[in-house]
Symmetry: C2
Subunit: 198 residues, 2 copies
């Protein structure tokens, strides 16, 4: 049984978790180690099969674990854990003693993914489990990784039937600016959609 | 003299216009035609030289103009022109009579870019003029375009000294969900930054 509120999200609709541009926490695991980093530079890349793009710097431990495992999870944090997001973006897993764990240092609990070994982070409101589609040139030249989404989950109190519906200020997704400055995802508004995709 | 409120943004800081994941309007021009499309799937890719990544579907007129010119502009719309963003995302330039202009249909005024021919759209609050870095495999396999930012501008009433400071609700940037549903960029909040990049 999971301690996390994981309701399945249809893969072809999983881009809706990322479409509005929130900051992500990228988690990874390989060879008995696990890690987490913050990434604002992530976006959907395709609907079906669902794909994402994310930038993973060469200097990071996450890069090593993702290249070794071919897997990562894009976790969608909410405002309640903004301090943990900032900690994940400020500290490098490389600076910790071997055997030490950045998730613990950042105050992030986790359990293993269902389709990948990379962890699903507690306190998040959405999760995209991804397998790397190897693209050596992109990875080398641009630090750009492309992943296929192989499982997707959302906290049903926050995202259900393909829509975000934030129940309180703490559970809004967040957007990263720089230097410890964030925006919360703000007011929802709608216009007649014409022929736009739904 | 420009009718648009164009204050220059240092290229190495231009990622800050896009870092929080707002929706963009991609404008293009080639061979006497110009066009605009909405793109939520855009993100920064590098600081210096500044680069961006954006998804441009093969079916679009924008794709043809961008491939012909090797240029595009990522325009950052604000809430005041959300209806124009939705129109740009709902209508294809291919469905208009030859010689007709999607910008006019969408109610978008424009003037040419300073470094590229693609237009800068009125009513926006930031502009990233980009030259395509040709990557045929990405373009073909993923509809993914990489651009180098060669000029960047912001409305100084909304973005100055590397920071967003929205003066009123109409000039907040916006984030696209689906089907005519948006979020406004919401409340700004800050945490002690530790060693995070500024």
């Amino acid at each position: 049984m999971s301690a996390l509120p994981l309701a399945p999200v249809e893969l072809a609709k999983s881009y809706l978790l990322l479409n509005h541009g929130p900051v992500t926490l990228v988690s990874s695991a390989a060879g008995g180690r696990r890690n987490v980093m913050a990434a604002a530079w992530a976006m959907p890349l395709d609907f079906n099969p669902a794909k994402v793009a994310v930038v993973i710097d060469k200097a990071t431990l996450s890069r090593e674990l993702i290249e070794a495992s071919g897997e990562f999870v894009l976790n969608l944090p909410c405002r309640a854990i903004a301090a943990q997001v900032l900690a994940a973006g400020s500290l490098s897993g490389r600076d910790l003693p071997a055997g030490d764990d950045k998730l613990g240092h950042c105050g992030l609990a986790a359990e293993p993914g269902r389709a990948v070994a990379a962890p699903l982070l507690a306190g998040c409101v959405g999760w995209l489990e991804c397998r790397v589609i190897p693209e050596a040139h992109n990875q080398q030249a641009y630090d750009l990784f492309i992943g296929e989404v192989v499982a997707a989950w959302a906290d049903p109190a926050v995202f259900a039937d393909g829509r975000w519906n934030f129940p309180d200020a703490d559970r809004h997704t967040i957007h990263y600016r720089a230097g410890g400055h964030f925006f919360a995802t703000g007011e929802a508004f709608s216009l007649p959609a014409g022929s736009a995709d739904d």
